[in-house]
Amino acid sequence: MRVRRIEILRSAGISPGFTIDGFAQGLTIVEGRNESGKSTLANAIRALLWPARHAHLRARGMFEAGGQEFHAFVDVHGGGWEGNTPTLPDESAGRGIIVGISDLWRDGEQDKAIREAMRRELQGGYDLQSLHEAAAPRSPTGPMRAMREAEANLHAARQAARDLMAQEASLPELRERAGQCRTLAARVPMVEKALERLACLDTLAGLRAELASLPQGALRIAGDEAQRLHELRNDIDHARASIDSAGQDAERLRADMAALGLADKGVPVGAMDLLAKLESEAIAIRQQLADAAREADRTSARAGVFAIEARAIDDGTLIQLDKALASVQEARERMLRDKLAAERPQADAARRWSNLVLIAASIMALLALVVAGFAQAWWALGCSALTLVLVIMALWMPRLFRDGGAALLLERAEQSEQAYGQSLAELRSIAGVDDELASTLSLVTAARRAKQHDEALEDMLAARANVESLEAQLAGVLARAESVLSAYGPDVCGSVDDLSELRTNLAHRVAEYGRLADRIEAAHARESQASQHLKRTMEQRRVLLERLGLTEDTEDQVHEWLRLRSHAVGLRDGIVRHEAVLAVLEAALAAMPELLDINHASLLTHKAECQQASRQASELEQRIGNLQGQLDRARHGADVSGALHAYERAAQELSKARDFACTRVARQMVLDQAVAGVEHEDMPALVRAADALLAKFTGLAYGLRIDSSQTPVVRDLRSGVDKNYEQLSTGTRAQALLAMRLAGALEAERRAGTAPLPIILDEPLATTDDERFEAIAGAMLGMVQEGRQLVYLTCEPAHADRLAKLAADQNIDIFRIDLDAVRNRQKTARNPSASLLEPKTLPSPEGLPREEYLHLLGVTELEPWGSLDAIDLYHVLADDLATLHTLALHGLRTVGQVLAQQGRLGERFSWPLVADAGRLAQRVVSAWRVGRCRPLRSEDLIASGAFGATFLDGILALNAEMGGSAEKLLELLESRSDERVKGFQGRKIEQFREHLRSQGLLPEGTTLDRGQILERAVNSDVIGCLDLGKSLGIAHALLSKLETPEGRIPEALASEGA
């Protein structure tokens, strides 16, 4: 496959439509000064074959493979890639066949990937590295720390148990002491009582003295004397008033009594009774008299009535008339009864018999029907006939009865009527009146009334005699009453009513008299009673005054006494109370009589001693309790057994960790053993290809090998010394990288089975010396001869010429493209071909202020923890700006560059001195680092993988606060004293610690002082061409900068900062 044409449609700094055409089958040399578009061309080829984002690139290309043309268009911003290409290996091949100078100046990801692939290849495709890394030796400190802690705990527990054993022996003594103290402490209440007793005695004495100072009267009085005197006085006054009042009342009543007009002793009871009796008699007589008068009037009137109708009929006639009349009446009654009986009984009997006959007829009819039903016609006929007869009898029965009975009864009635007529006739005959019955009856009646008239006249006369008798009795009674009444007044008793009135009046007066007499007597009684009360009260008052020792005149002193009396009472009460308390206290103190004889001060002292004993007893009891608790716990094995258990656990964990470490070591030994014997011929194709290429590139001076740590190294085939990349010179490193890249591309090409890809070299040999250039070019042209297209882009016309010459020598088809011509621009000025490095524009330090020159030079700060190769030469040659300038003109700024360019700088300046100074600087910095570590950076924390998202922010902040100190941070993590790391797991801390250790971020050993550093870094064996004084000067200057962070900053940067 080959590139035919590339058209850059758009790219930064390139005019649209920039087209390179006419690529040769063999070698195409593209010449052009810087910025003429060489790298753009290389990038365009890569983007067209392996589309990828490339800034501001739009290109079109034509390729040829197997006689077939392929076209591709790429527009990164416009939407990507379109076209067709032959089968290509993966993109890694693109980085292998298109190599720029920048690719070989640094060890990029692609190179690392190739080296990794080489290592795997070397190991037969197995990833031993991961196994190796997984088995990296570890020495975790966690188990040992836990072990130490458990050991300390166990030791403490054992010691505690031993102490406890010792203390156990002291228990009886402690208990005895506690008992003694407690006994003494028990005296405290008694001592307090004794003190209380003394206080009580003092109080009593005071009370008694005060009481004695009060007046006797105040002590005598009971408190109610004044009131009592006052009450007695009031009683006396009241009694006197009562006596006076009662006397006056009696006088007035006696006057009222006299006004009644009765004798001194009133009316005897017999007189009043007599009067009452007479009055009753008079009233009764008067009643009888009225009744008798009325009877007389009535008989008189009756006698008058009967007198009108009466005639004279004798008595015999009257008797006969009565008898006759009775007979008439009897006959009449019998006649009426018989007549009535003749009417009623016949009808009833007929009806009864008729009913019976009808019943019989019905029975017979029924029987006839029954018989007929049985076809007994004769019997039925007979029964029917009998029925008919019975019916007829029933119809005729009443008639028969009526006719027979009625005749008999009527006959009796007629006889009765006749008897009646006879009796009437007999009556008439007796009365002599026979004309009619009425007249007869009237006659009888008149006879009776005449008789009654006579009787009435007799009654009237008797009644009148009675009246007269009664009137006489009444007059006698009244006279007697008047005689009685005459003793109490002049009134006349003419009638019963007068008598009643007079007697009533007298009774009233008598009653009034009695009432007045009672009242008088009551008044006298009151007077007497009041007198007695007065006497008694006066006596009481006298006695009271006498008892108080007072008289009526000195009575008022009692008030003063009373005022003092309440105080005296209080004093007395106090005395009584205190005496009671004293009695109780002394009774209580009887158990300790010695306390009764101790004075107050001694008691206080004794009390203090007892209280102290109480405190001691409490303390001792607490000690005993604690000790007992510890003993109980110890008896259950809670302390030592637990600690022992923890210790064994920790030991087991530690042994596991140790065994695990042994296992890892064993695994590493196995892995080392497995790869140690890999022979060169065992190396896989990729490694062999790179090795072959490198050997060609270096003229068999170097080869590629894999070291024991499975890292590709460059072996000096002449000395047999292996060098890693950091130790290689820039040119050799570029050769090695180019060899590896090409080998990788060729391997990818082989795996993909594609046609040989073009190789595009974008000035990769710019830093290569002539000898190596020819070697590399020879190797590359060898590949061209094998049918591979080679595009070489350069700004070095000399390189182009040399390459063209070499190709011409091998009859290789050559095509040269001048980009300036293509772009119609002036051909680039040639760079000094004699120099391997492009001189940089830099003004001379002469005539410039030092700081300004350093600023222009771009010196960098001394980084204590950076790469030793990166130490700025300024820090070594600070006093030799001329040499510094010369080196800078050749692009040499760091110690590593100087050491890498060893032997290439000729004799232009004192090379050995600079190289030795550089080495010295590296040794000084290395020695200074012993026992120190660089501050932790955020990426260190992240790379440890120990901190998840939960803790990371907090840890980063803490790291900043700790100034990057790994030890402080670990300490903080283990203590978990900060909120931000609360809950952080112990195993993560171990992981973090391991990471720090593996990365050399945990200081090991002790730091060296300045003397030790100088001893190690500056000695005659190592300082080379440098004299000792200069070496010490450089070393001291470096150490000063290392020890003082501010000193690490060059003057230029410092002034900028300022």
Partner: protein
Amino acid sequence: MAEARFLAAADLHLGRPIASLPEALRPEARALGPLGALERLVELARHERVDAVLLAGDVVDDDGAYFEVFEALQQAIRGLGNIPLIAIAGNHDAKILPRLAKGMEGLTLLGEGGSWQTVEVQTPLGGVEVLGWSFPDTHCRASPFDRPPPPRKNRRLGLLHCDLDTSASVYAPCTSGQLRAHAADAWLLGHVHVPSIGGSAGASPAGYLGSVCGLDPSESGPRGAWLVRIDAAGASLESRAIAPIAWVRVDAPAEALTAHGLDATLHRLSSDASVDYEHAQAVGVRMALVGEHEHWQEIARAADGLELGQPWTHLGRRVFLESVECRLSAPLPLERLAQERSVVGRIAGLVLELQSGGQEGLVREAENRFAEIGRDRNLCVPSLGERCWPLPDARATLAREARAVLSELLAQSGPGVG
């Protein structure tokens, strides 16, 4: 036929907790540990109607356990009744046992302060003297036989706590020859926890009685006391397993394993192994998965995920997995692989050489490096009395790791350039 009967035990280590006892059995720790074993010892002595109980040192584990042990010993003496309890002090209880013996009736301490002492026990056979020697201190570099025991007058049982045939020991070193030279009907030794007592035909028994109960998983196998019978023919010993907890090592063969049912398989194997320990209340199983298995990685992962220390009940015993060690590897055709000129071939060859006793240089180097690790200040495991944690065997470790590396390499996706 008249005989004397003794019950002998050693290394009770009263007060020491059982190491690796899972949390779930922690409430039963007392019954499962030495204190429980002591109770069983007393019970057995009464059951067997022995004439005396003999304890060959290290009765108490630590001075700190004084209080805890005091009660237990007193209870044991009460339980024994008239049976004498005779003991000697070992390195663990050199100080504490004399103190305990002074403080309680019924415990006879022989040879206090590193001297020989005898006590006669009356038996149906007649008087039998028990000879004993106690540690004077925690360490004793001198042999107890430097000062010879009193001459034998009667039938004799020797009680001694010592390091037999280890001349440089600090634990009363002595030799088998010395034991033979000072004849006894039996020499009952303490100190080494692995029982080894026995006697060749015609010879008196002499050896270690072993610990009464396994104090940690390394003390596997049946543990307990020994019934010593003395008759006219001499002494004979019978083992009486009384340890409340037994530790068992079980190798689970690869062919019996699957990743899916690993839990159940290991439980079954553990239960089967526990059947032999009728006397034990609990059986802790230290399981090792051994052999070659196609799915060895899955099984290893499953083994990592197993929940250990969770007891289950089998035939009335509590059985639990103390640990599971996966020593599985892929099925490795070592001979064929060794033919390859590759890393794999070299490792396969290395495995074969290690298995056949070769690679002595590599093994020596490994031993040196292991020793170096053992001296690492972060990994140096201190010994705890006679308990120590030996370094792993270098050859076995190398072979195991070589097989593991080989298995892991073969498990990788295979050669290729990235």
